[in-house]
Symmetry: C2
DNA sequence: CTGTTAGCGCTTTCAC
DNA sequence: GTGAAAGCGCTAACAG
């Protein structure tokens, strides 16, 4: 229970001056007698006076709050993005409020409502895998509150976006497996609702095509990103009469689970099957064999998205441009796909 | 740039009623004519009306904001705590603003000022390793804004705290090494400024004492938590004329770095040296050999701290009790300290 | 049931 | 230089 907070009026009363003068002294207005200013500042310090941003925000119609809506906190991906965004926001005097939707559309809608009520000056959004309707986001546009999407973007929203080169990265990852001699490469595919999943799928397909390898639907496994399910899929794949000799997984947690499962089955990686993941999560360099994966500049995604948002906030709505910023990723080749000759 | 936001006054004007009536209709006040309410609600929906929490907060002197001040984001520990706290906060209708201090005292002071200005209703704090003065936190107490500390706590602040049983955990970890036959156990010790470091140190010392093992200062290495430095320390330790056969590391990142270094030196874990870490970070189960470590209920620490804060917010300042909640941890025995006989 | 008034803490004209 | 007054968007007595 808060006790009474010192206000400018308290200071004014004590000093027998008006609150306007106190305000001016506190905000560094030039035309205040040095003597008066000194007295005000001194008393303010003594009384632990702290400006109430709520009232200032009310006047300025700005909250200095930026909302971030993310779909989940299960993997290290989104926390990392937030770290990047938070650092940039802190630098520019903004606070960040975060809400995560647990991959539920309803929760996402709720969360955006909260952001709206909290008078955020802008939001960063990454949608859930369920999200098909975007009315809850379009409200922001109508209100002139800038939105920037990242990672989980959608075509329906005409806003700036930050993504990585998913197609090229997937293409490169699969081609790498092919160049190590793999001829039958399976894909643990992400939800079709996500653009990133579709792009990575296309990269996978085109890499096979380029190298004249057949596409076999039976080794393309739809995977809803639920941890723990990969085990079943991998068992299924490896017990086919014609099992794959390569696996491109939609993300690292899936790839790591695949490695663990395959090792338990007594198979050898990468000899029996080469594996490539996506994102370079914590631990992908620690598992044995270490995981070949596509490294995303995760924190940079967050800071870039926030920078884009800051840019929008300065501009008239009519000047907004829906640029899509595509950041580069890079393939990190480790032992799950390729072991150099001179290795121990 | 925001466009005009619909206010209750817009609705009132359009409907030719007073804004009080609009307010009452919107907040579900009972004594409003059903007809009026319907009209208001309809128009509100049509105009994307959204209550401005800023003004409500100003009136209620409550921001519905909870601040979290953490020392770093380098390891997965604090993000995880925040996830736990955020989930609990979201459930109770609070938003969370986070700031991290990069282990710098000055930044921590700045950050707490921001929290104060943002009119947070309470804060969760974990101090930097540099923090020796607590005036910036005591201001909150004087203002009646509740504080709960966690992990990086201090004796100087009489506030509720959430910690884990560091002493017992460290004692158990070291005793475990002793029971696996180790007789000369080194300790990578955390900064002496942190209570957790001191408690773990005490646990280490007492475990040695209980088993009549000598304490050798030369294998107790002060470590400031900077990633990358462990390599040097481990080399130093293992090249002693009388190297240790066990290592208790202050945290998992350090233990993992130790494992990597020791493996590169061609030594065998746990045969030549058994290793135990602390916290069960991401990846500690993935590294080879997998890391024996003390598992902390990290998200629970966050949610518990937030719960404690919520409790304080309901009470008069005079009713506040500075309980310290000690959560249990558990030793997870993996291959870096002990390999069962029937292992492959 | 509804309108009027005051006020949350602050900034910002407009006077003097 | 400083004070008085208005107002940001909303709620909460107090009338009627």
């Amino acid at each position: 229970m808060k006790v009474h907070q010192t206000t400018i009026y308290d200071i004014a009363r004590e000093l027998n001056i008006s609150k306007s003068t106190v305000s001016r002294a506190l905000t560094g207005h030039p035309q205040v007698k040095a003597e008066t200013r000194k007295a005000v500042l001194e008393l303010a310090g003594k009384l632990d006076y702290q400006r109430n941003m709520l009232s200032i925000n009310l006047i300025s119609r700005k909250s200095n709050l930026i909302g971030i809506v993310v779909p989940e906190f299960d993997t290290s991906y989104f926390p990392q993005v937030i770290i990047g965004a938070q650092a940039m926001a802190q630098k520019h005097g903004y606070n960040i409020i975060v809400s995560q939707s647990n991959e539920k559309f309803e929760t996402e809608v709720e969360n955006t409502k909260v952001m709206l009520a909290s008078q955020v000056d802008g939001i960063l959004v990454s949608i859930t895998k369920e999200t098909r309707s975007f009315e809850h986001l379009k409200i922001f546009q109508r209100k002139g509150i800038p939105i920037v999407m990242f990672n989980r973007v959608c075509d329906e929203m005409i806003v700036p976006k930050v993504v990585i080169n998913d197609y090229e990265a997937a293409f490169g990852a699969v081609e790498h497996l092919i160049l190590t001699g793999k001829k039958r490469i399976a894909h643990l595919a992400g939800p079709d609702s996500l653009i990133t999943s579709r792009k990575r799928m296309q990269g996978y397909l085109d890499a096979l095509k380029k190298h004249h390898l057949p596409v076999d639907e039976s080794i393309i496994i739809p995977y809803d990103l639920t941890l723990g399910k990969v085990k079943i899929y991998v068992h299924h794949l490896m017990e086919l009469e014609n099992p794959p000799d390569g696996l491109f997984a939609i993300n690292d947690p899936a790839a790591i689970e695949a490695i663990q499962t395959i090792k338990k089955m007594g198979l050898s990686i990468p000899r029996d099957i080469g594996i490539v993941g996506f994102s370079n999560d914590y631990g992908s360099d620690l598992i044995e064999p270490s995981l070949t994966t596509v490294a995303q500049p995760i924190q940079l995604i967050g800071s870039t998205a926030l920078q884009l948002l800051l840019d929008l906030m300065d501009k008239e709505v009519s000047q907004w441009k829906a640029v899509t910023k595509t950041l580069d990723s890079s393939l990190i080749i480790r032992n799950s796909s390729f072991i150099p000759d001179n290795a121990s």
